[in-house]
């Protein structure tokens, strides 16, 4: 096993390869509620630099925070988790990845208005605000939420 020498450290997270024209900004923050605002502020600056307008920046901030909230709820607080921002000329990508125990995607459906719940809104909100969203979750590999928004 190649990775065994790294055993003392948190397992290295491999993000997808970066293509030409993409710039990456990586963050690693504790899975603790008080640090989520750091990710939100970073998202706001990067989206602004790409040229997104105020409303789009607000959408990106909410979507990114929801993904982080999801990690914070499902991870142990002593662990860090990773966020990669992919900045392109007319597009932002954000990948939020943890080493938690995953969650059951089947639990996440559209909100039931007759019986509003405070659970499961996050993923639904991300999918509503971003142009493309991929969620992969498993007990073995944790959860990865990838989201993209294009500049109109």
């Amino acid at each position: 096993m190649k990775g065994d020498k790294m055993g003392m450290h948190k397992e290295k997270i491999d993000f997808e390869c970066v293509r030409e024209g993409q710039k990456c900004i990586d963050l690693s923050i504790p899975a603790n509620p008080e640090y989520v605002s750091i990710v939100r502020l970073t998202a706001s600056v990067i989206a602004n630099n790409i040229g997104f307008d105020f409303e789009e920046i607000e959408d990106i901030k909410v979507a990114v925070s929801e993904a982080c909230n999801n990690v914070v709820v499902h991870s142990k607080r002593e662990n860090n988790f990773d966020i990669r921002f992919i900045s392109e000329s007319e597009k932002i990508g954000v990948v939020v990845k943890d080493n938690g125990n995953g969650f059951d995607l089947a639990d996440y459906t559209s909100p039931d208005l007759k019986n509003p719940s405070d659970h499961g809104l996050g993923i639904f909100v991300i999918k509503s605000l971003m142009d493309r969203v991929e969620v992969n979750s498993s007990k073995e590999n944790g959860t990865e939420i990838k989201m993209y928004k294009n500049l109109l």
């Binding site: 989520v36 939100r40 909410v62 929801e66 208005l113 509003p116 405070d118 909100v125 509503s128």
Partner: protein, 110 residues
């Protein structure tokens, strides 16, 4: 990032007014939950939340509001959101919560 909450009970209207200033996220939502719960325990009256100075809220904050509404509904009372900014109105609309809470625009203070 900070959050401040000003609450006031109006006896003549049997109404709570709350002014939320700042950001409600997964970190600060507990503070909002505590304040709103205290209010509901003191008096289960309609709550009107002035969001003019609320710059950010996400599902953790909306979840708190849903929890409070459930308690208010036991007494057939409502939760009213007033003066929400466009980004927050959008979130309420996406989640369908604009039909669960009463959402009013352009309300004067008091």
């Amino acid at each position: 990032m900070s959050l401040s909450i000003e609450k006031q009970y109006h006896q003549d209207k049997d109404l709570w007014t709350v002014k939320i200033t700042g950001e409600v996220d997964i970190y600060t939502s507990d503070e909002m939950k505590e304040t709103l719960n205290e209010m509901v325990e003191e008096k289960k009256s309609e709550i009107q939340i002035d969001c003019r100075e609320l710059s950010y809220i996400d599902s953790s904050g909306l979840g708190v509001l849903i929890g409070i509404l459930k308690k208010l509904k036991e007494e057939n009372k409502n939760l009213v959101v007033v003066n929400a900014r466009s980004n927050i109105l959008k979130l309420l609309s996406i989640t369908g919560l604009d039909k669960v809470f009463i959402v009013k625009e352009n309300q004067n203070e008091g």
